[in-house]
């Protein structure tokens, strides 16, 4: 672990230099706001951004991804045998990822990379990726990341953490992957490690102090699933919900997907697409029966998964990193902080 300083005048040149060996992703703004996207050769990551509408999860888990292919032509020997689709797993780097999004990727990893199963698409992408984080000097009003196990200067899941110091970035290089990326950019002005750590600590404390929003999750663990599941408040929580997929799609930790086959002439492809537990289709059986046929059931599922099932299963806190995106984007203002409070404080009446 070492610190380096990067003069902002050298930044763009270094980023361009790394394009020789890395495919770059980063924040870019267009008419629909800021998003984390693959950067075209002439586009620099926007390091001044406040937040992106969607999280960085799409870097590893695109909304639509071709995973398998086959031929439907019976003259081919291997017709109808699914083979893995070509994917590009050469080194990639996501520049300017927020610390809470990097933490979210670690939570998603618990699902895609387990002792029993390894999702090859996600894991290969993960291994190919270097995460260059940008600390948040001024967290926004909806940021409650310090109460979800991360924070504006959290290093979890990052290879490099950059702190914006006006005319320069101070970079904490956390892993060999991070070192390799810094070298590819030609960033090598080493800074005094002790002094830099002190600076980081001061900036982290200042940033954390400005966070005014929080959630309490301390009592969730001791509640039984059925007590929460059968609690009387779900109809009220769900009333305003229009069952769109916004909360799940903007969420950095929502990992559910749907599998779809698409045929074109004699070629068939299997895709996986983001899915959303807000949609009735998510659980509709082939028989037509739907175990989550009512809106309230679907809303309850989202919050129970994030705030109870995940917590019970992995013992790593809640499945929420406090980015505030769902709070901001929900068309009807369903606020996960309020739902979490309701669940955390709920006592079953005997």
């Amino acid at each position: 672990m070492k610190f380096i300083t990067i003069d902002k005048k050298d930044w763009a040149k270094g980023i361009d230099k790394s394009r020789g060996t890395y495919q770059l992703f980063g924040p870019v703004t267009d008419i629909n706001g800021c998003q984390i996207k693959a950067l075209d050769a002439d586009v620099q990551p926007e390091m001044e951004y406040t937040d992106s509408v969607l999280s960085a999860k799409s870097v590893l888990f695109p909304q639509s991804e071709k995973i398998l292919v086959t031929s439907l032509n019976e003259a081919d020997d291997d017709h109808h045998i699914m083979k893995r689709a070509d994917g590009d797993y050469t080194p990639r780097a996501v520049i300017g990822i927020r610390p809470y999004d990097a933490r979210a990727i670690q939570l998603v990893k618990m699902n895609f990379d387990t002792e029993d199963y390894r999702d090859p698409y996600w894991c290969d992408a993960y291994e190919a990726t270097t995460f260059v984080g940008l600390a948040i000097n001024k967290p926004g009003p909806l940021d409650f990341s310090t109460s979800t196990g991360t924070g504006p200067f959290s290093e979890d899941g990052l290879d490099i953490l950059l702190a914006d110091m006006d005319d320069k970035f101070l970079a904490k290089v956390l892993t060999p992957k991070g070192e390799a990326y810094a070298a590819a950019c030609g960033f090598n002005t080493e800074a005094d490690a002790k002094e830099s750590q002190v600076l980081f600590d001061v900036m982290r404390k200042d940033a954390e102090k400005t966070i005014s929003s929080s959630v309490e999750t301390d009592k969730l663990k001791d509640k039984t699933i059925l007590d929460l599941y059968e609690a009387p408040f779900w109809d009220d929580v769900a009333f305003s919900c229009i069952n769109c997929g916004t909360c799940t799609y903007v969420c950095p930790t929502c990992w559910c997907f749907d599998i779809q086959d698409e045929n074109k002439l004699k070629a068939s492809s299997r895709f996986r697409n983001w899915d959303t537990c807000m949609s009735p289709l998510f659980t509709r059986h082939a028989t037509g029966h739907n175990p989550r046929g009512e809106k309230t059931m679907r809303v309850r599922q989202r919050f129970m998964h994030k705030l109870k099932y995940f917590l019970d299963k992995y013992d790593s806190g809640i499945m929420c990193v406090g980015c505030g995106r769902c709070v901001k984007s929900c068309p009807v203002n369903i606020d996960i902080r309020q739902v979490c409070e309701t669940m955390n404080n709920y006592e079953k009446k005997e």
Partner: protein
Amino acid sequence: MDTCIQKIREIAGDLLEKGEVERVIGFAEGSIPMATSPVAISTKEDAQKLCFSSTCGLNLANYASKEKGKKIAVVAKGCDSRNLVTHIVENQIDRDNLYIIGVPCPGMVDKFKIAAEMGGEITGFEEAGDTLIVSTVDDKKELNKQDYLRHNCSLCTHKNPVLFDVLVGEEVEEQQLDNAYPDVDAIEALTADGRWKHFEELTQNCIRCYACRNACPLCYCPTCFVDESGPQWVGKGQDKTDVDTFHFLRAFHCAGRCTDCGACVEACPMGINVRDFTRKLNKDAQDMFGWEAGLTIDKRPPLDAYSPDDPNDFIK
């Protein structure tokens, strides 16, 4: 505005106390600035939760039609009332089960435009008549509301509810427009390629969350065509053809029924102006049939009625 909120609460409380309705559907204050949330109230005490402001941009007719068989009251702006009319005409709501608390509408504000003006995250939002007082952590500005109205509100000619049981304020003056569709004219003036490019760019960041569809009171099909799986009509991924097919067909399903309430745009997390699709069809309904949706419960919408005066040649 304050007296209007007071009246909404009084009337709602009264209706619930007397048992005239089971629930009152209105707006409640949100948890963050510039947010409100649709709410169903069932006790007189809870009626104090009801609010009204320039941020009540969703359309409550969308909620009313889901309360089938119940006697309900709905807080309705001009556009909500027009969608209630549409629901009555389309047999989605029984007029006898519906009590409309009409609100002469001062126009709703464009949250994306205000956010863009302020730069940072909004931490405070207040209204004082036509002045919006908006704060961020580092800044506080007074904005003229008329400059930040939603586009549909700036062109609205039915601010007053068209159907109501009670009004909570004085009717507001309706504006007369020389041209109600300047935006459609601008798109029509483009070349075919230019129009295609316009719509391609419009939907380039659509994430298919279907917030536009689900916020729309017109979209009440038990199963939407994009959700059909046997047979499946549309691909589910991010292929542009599939994304566009959804938008085109959704718009056509709204032809002659859309009131331009703007709930679709209000709900879109990506800030896509999906009204660019529906507005053209509204204009066509106006030009071809002299029709504006949801103004009266006595007429069938043009696309579900036969008329010997139909402007199309095939009928003659």
